[in-house]
Symmetry: C2
Subunit: 188 residues, 2 copies
């Protein structure tokens, strides 16, 4: 008979096993994630996400693709058929920090009884519209505010926050440059 240690919905035994496996075989930590996108019309496009490579193999656990629509609101010439691209960036950061807090808390034995975040980002559209070379097209800044319901002390939470900020993939992607290549070709 075996019992599982589950904290915050996280299988802590699996987490410990994963860390152990990576220490023995560092290459299984190399992941390659993928997405495909098809333009629909105007500001509306559709992204399909399904397979990825990780832990030394192609992942086939998603029998159906995950489909995500994106569009602009009417003021930006779209029809609200989905969140727009920069709102999606806030969603990516939120979900990353949520995983980070839940998993790291679980690893430290901190029980999370609830967690909520609010995010906002400021952007000046002079950049996107090509009206200014000195205005960056992206967010000037992003603010995230998180409330966690827990019995842990304020000190423990501050430590947790430091650890999560040091290890969050999307926070790193935002705070530091990611080499990103763009290749465009004419379809036959």
């Amino acid at each position: 008979m075996t019992t599982k240690t589950v904290v915050n919905g996280v299988d802590v035994d699996q987490l410990v096993d994963t860390v152990g496996a990576i220490k023995e075989q560092p290459d299984i930590a190399k992941f390659r994630f993928r997405a495909s996108n098809q333009w629909v019309n105007g500001g509306h496009s559709r992204t399909t996400i399904q397979s990825f490579y990780g832990a030394g193999q192609e992942d086939d656990t998603r029998s159906e693709p995950i489909v995500l629509d994106s569009d602009e609101p009417p003021v930006l010439l779209g029809e609200n058929k989905g969140a727009n691209a920069v709102e999606t960036v806030l969603h990516a950061l939120a979900s990353c920090m949520s995983v980070g807090f839940a998993y790291n808390a679980a690893a430290q034995g901190i029980r999370v009884d609830g967690m909520e975040m609010d995010l906002e980002g400021d952007i000046d559209l002079h950049g996107f519209l090509g009206l200014s070379e000195s205005t960056r097209p992206g967010y000037e800044n992003i603010r995230l505010s998180c409330r966690i319901k827990t019995d842990a002390s304020e000190d423990k939470l501050a430590e947790l926050s430091e650890q999560v900020q040091k290890t969050s993939p999307v926070l790193d992607i935002l705070r530091n440059p990611v080499p990103t290549s763009v290749h465009l070709e004419k379809a036959p």
Copy 2:
């Protein structure tokens, strides 16, 4: 009687009017986007996106919120209830570039008859798992490959690509640092 000039599903007259209005009143280009996130369990969280501030007012065109779930795959201790955070980053980039190509092409009178993109990103989980201080937690690199069906010349497309890369908000967010603040507090 008025006729609308619509190219690639983009109302070019509205685009020209928007640019004109911003030139007269630069402050209307300042936008603030928002998202809220609620943790569900383990790697699963749910983001809600609805209002934003832009063009000098609160936008109220979305009568219902846009709800997006995120989760990890089983190999990363989740249950595939949504794309994970770094896959969502690829979705954000794809949708941003799609809007960029469709809108800039429309402004230049280039008809787009179809557009598809494939994206991939490489990440080494030593960073996320706190197993290495020298491995960044986020993507080491991202590659985007785009095929556009169009009658425009190769030269025109190359120009378009340069313009879109210079003005894409999410590409800028990835290629350059965004000051991002994180505030954590204990819920009462």
